[in-house]
């Protein structure tokens, strides 16, 4: 029974990915493109040489973290649509510390990373608090917080961090995640040490959720508030804690962009989409930290590879968005896939 379940948890995403790519191929055929050329371009765009591999991993890094941010909250029964805003404030805070402080590497970098996590956590704290104390729906508060983050961050960049510019100066080298070693190894890609942080964060999430009393409480609250209260847990505290930790993960994702990929922060006219993509990542990863890592890698691959599709095969990049959406549908509809697979297995016997 359990092994059967594990098999399904693994098979469903795999099956969904294939189905998504298959439908993508059909769409290409209908639109008059050669799907083999299209996917070859995609592959080249993601793994063509050391450079693209480096960029693919770089793109995966923040997706892992936003995926964790959503998966973690989900485990407590909370839906964190606010990862987007948490990414932005995390990005801002880490860059701020990266610029404003003068300190040796050993202090500066951790401090800047921490600042990102704290800012994201703070952005998660608000909806958590409102949910815990006043029962306000977290989905809508987090959506609103996204917009607030966007505007406030743009304003701070323009009027506090710079004199009216649309981009801050670059962070000090002592706060940078960029690595000459990784970059040189990958033909000057922007691959940075953040990937290690993201992987470590996944391990942390697994540990908190599975191995600590904190995780035990968070999950219990997610499953059944009443029973948790009965068992002496502080329901409100756990809701807040969950949102803070989730926000912290998303804030880290922002720090990856600020300290790793860009080395600065710019005025944004729209969302980064890292937070929304994180929803897809969490789902495909079944809200399991290691699943999240794999799903983030898949989406990172698809998105990085997509950029090669217009030049390589004439296919608009949006095809990849369609494929990703389809994969999400298929995973979300796992009830039916599960049923089909069971059916298939039965008949096979």
């Amino acid at each position: 029974m359990t092994s059967n379940n594990k098999f399904m948890t693994f098979m469903i995403p795999v099956f969904s990915v294939f189905l998504g790519l298959f439908v993508g191929a059909i769409i290409m055929i209908i639109s008059g493109y050669n799907p083999i050329e299209g996917y070859a371009a995609l592959w080249r765009g993601a793994f063509g040489d050391a450079y693209t591999i480096g960029e693919t991993i770089r793109r995966t890094t923040p997706l892992i973290l936003t995926g964790l941010a959503i998966a973690f909250a989900f485990r407590t029964g909370l839906f964190n649509i606010g990862a987007e805003g948490q990414v932005i404030v995390g990005w801002l805070a880490s860059v701020w510390v990266g610029i404003a402080i003068d300190a040796p590497f050993i202090i500066h970098l951790p401090l800047a990373i921490l600042a990102g996590a704290i800012a994201g956590g703070l952005w998660g704290f608000v909806p958590g608090l409102l949910k815990a104390k006043l029962g306000v729906h977290e989905v809508i508060v987090t959506i609103m917080m996204n917009y607030i983050a966007l505007h406030v961050s743009n304003n701070i960049i323009r009027s506090v961090l710079t004199d009216h510019a649309t981009k801050t100066e670059n962070i000090a080298d002592t706060a940078s995640l960029a690595s000459d070693f990784l970059s040189n190894m990958t033909l000057n890609s922007r691959l940075h040490y953040g990937i290690l942080i993201a992987l470590f964060a996944a391990v942390i999430m697994w540990f908190i959720i599975q191995r600590t009393t904190i995780g035990y409480e968070l999950k219990a609250v997610g499953f059944n508030k009443h029973a948790s209260k009965y068992a002496g847990m502080k329901v409100g505290k756990n809701i807040i804690l969950s949102m803070v930790i989730a926000g912290g993960f998303a804030g880290l994702a922002g720090a990856m962009e600020g300290l790793g990929t860009f080395g600065n922060i710019h005025v944004m006219s729209g969302f980064t989409n890292l937070g929304f993509d994180g929803i897809a990542v969490a789902l495909l990863g079944a809200n399991n930290p290691f699943g999240v890592v794999m799903a983030a890698f898949l989406f990172g691959t698809l998105k990085e590879g997509a950029n090669e599709m217009p030049t390589g095969a004439g296919v608009p990049t949006e095809l990849v968005d369609i494929i990703i959406a389809l994969i999400i549908f298929f995973v979300a509809s796992s009830y039916i896939i599960r049923w089909a697979l069971l059916r298939f297995k039965k008949e096979g016997k």
Binding site: I27, S31, F79, I81, V126, L130, L134, G135, V136, H137, V139, I140, V141, I143, M144, M145, Y147, I148, H151, V152, N155, G270, F276, I279, A280, L283, P316, E318, L319, V320, D321, I322, I324, A325, L326, I328, F329, V331, A332, S333, S334, Y335, I336
Partner: protein, 316 residues
């Protein structure tokens, strides 16, 4: 003061109309127990279809084109929403997630087809809806100029649809069944009501209304379609659903409130007592006000009890 209202209200109305329509779609869907995060995507679809249709037919159909375009967008929106219905009703998918997928899919499909058909990422401009004076009503003293002069007919269509939605939900058998399905699907089932049929209908209705909302937005405000035509309006509509406590008239009120907050952020500098407040505060005002309103004014919002729960016959 009257001057101020005269400048604010038409703006509020045109900004709110698409939100009202889309939020009503959300009300139907969520009242039947299907969460609809996909409103944004349904609006994108509506905007895409509305613009493409108008572009294609405005030469042959003339000034009535936008009205037909909006209708077609509603129909296509309804068809598109079937995907969400299949996933969340028949396949018992997590509805929030399916909604997120709808959002991605709509944008992907819209822009993909735009590039495919027009060879570029955005369409040309169309002639959409124009401001008019509402016949007779605009002659009423004081109120007339404020509410009925230089406004969009679509704004009033939206308000009328909201009233119709209220009637349908609260006065008809269909509405009673729909609400029952959203509160306690098993109870509805044991009373011989097909939960799936009701939910399909509701989700398709939300697609129709979302399509209307998106196309009205595109045809009154933006005039063309690109990846940035609909940026967050669907989420605002969702907020209006919740803010309006899942009630059609509540949702309408919330949408109008958002329009008001938005337009204050623009007219703020020309209103004496708001003058001198830094722009940033006005910019975030709609969002902060929404949060404050949720926290303070209306407190706990009671979602339909079965909202978000797939109904699986015989489970408990």
């Amino acid at each position: 003061m009257i001057d101020l209202l005269q400048s604010l209200i038409p703006t509020v109305l045109f900004f709110s109309a698409p939100l009202i329509l889309t939020a009503l779609g959300g009300v139907f869907s969520e009242r039947s127990g299907v969460i609809n995060i996909g409103l944004e995507g349904l609006m994108v679809m509506g905007a895409f279809v509305g613009i493409v249709f108008t572009l294609t037919f405005q030469d042959s159909l003339g000034s009535i084109t936008p009205w037909i375009a909006v209708g077609v967008a509603g129909i296509v929106g309804g068809i598109f929403a079937i995907i969400h219905a299949v996933a969340s009703v028949s396949f018992k998918a997590d509805q929030t997630v399916s909604g997120v997928a709808i959002n991605m899919l709509a944008l992907g499909v819209g822009v993909y087809l735009t590039k495919q058909w027009y060879g570029k990422g955005q369409t040309d401009m169309v002639d959409g809806f124009f401001r008019t004076d509402i016949p007779i009503l605009h002659k009423i003293p004081v109120i007339g100029p404020i509410f009925f002069e230089g406004v969009y007919a679509t704004s009033y269509v939206a308000i009328i649809i909201a009233v119709v939605a209220w009637y349908v939900l609260y006065k008809t058998a269909f509405g009673l069944r729909l609400r029952a399905v959203g509160e306690h699907p098993m109870a509805a089932d044991t009373n011989g009501i097909s939960v799936s049929k009701i939910r399909y209908t509701a989700v398709i209705l939300s697609g129709v209304l979302g399509g209307l909302g998106g196309s009205v937005f595109a045809l009154t405000i933006v005039s063309n379609f690109s990846h940035s035509t609909i940026v967050g309006q669907g989420f605002m509509a969702l907020a209006a659903v919740i803010f309006g406590k899942w009630h059609p008239l509540g949702a309408m009120g919330a949408a109008i409130f958002f329009g008001f907050a938005q337009s204050l952020s623009i007219s703020g500098s020309s209103i004496p007592f708001l003058d001198g407040i830094p722009q940033i505060y006005l910019l975030i005002a709609p969002y902060v006000l929404t949060i404050l309103a949720l926290a303070g004014l209306i407190g706990r919002a009671d979602a339909p009890a079965a909202n978000g729960q797939p109904y699986i016959k015989g489970s408990r």
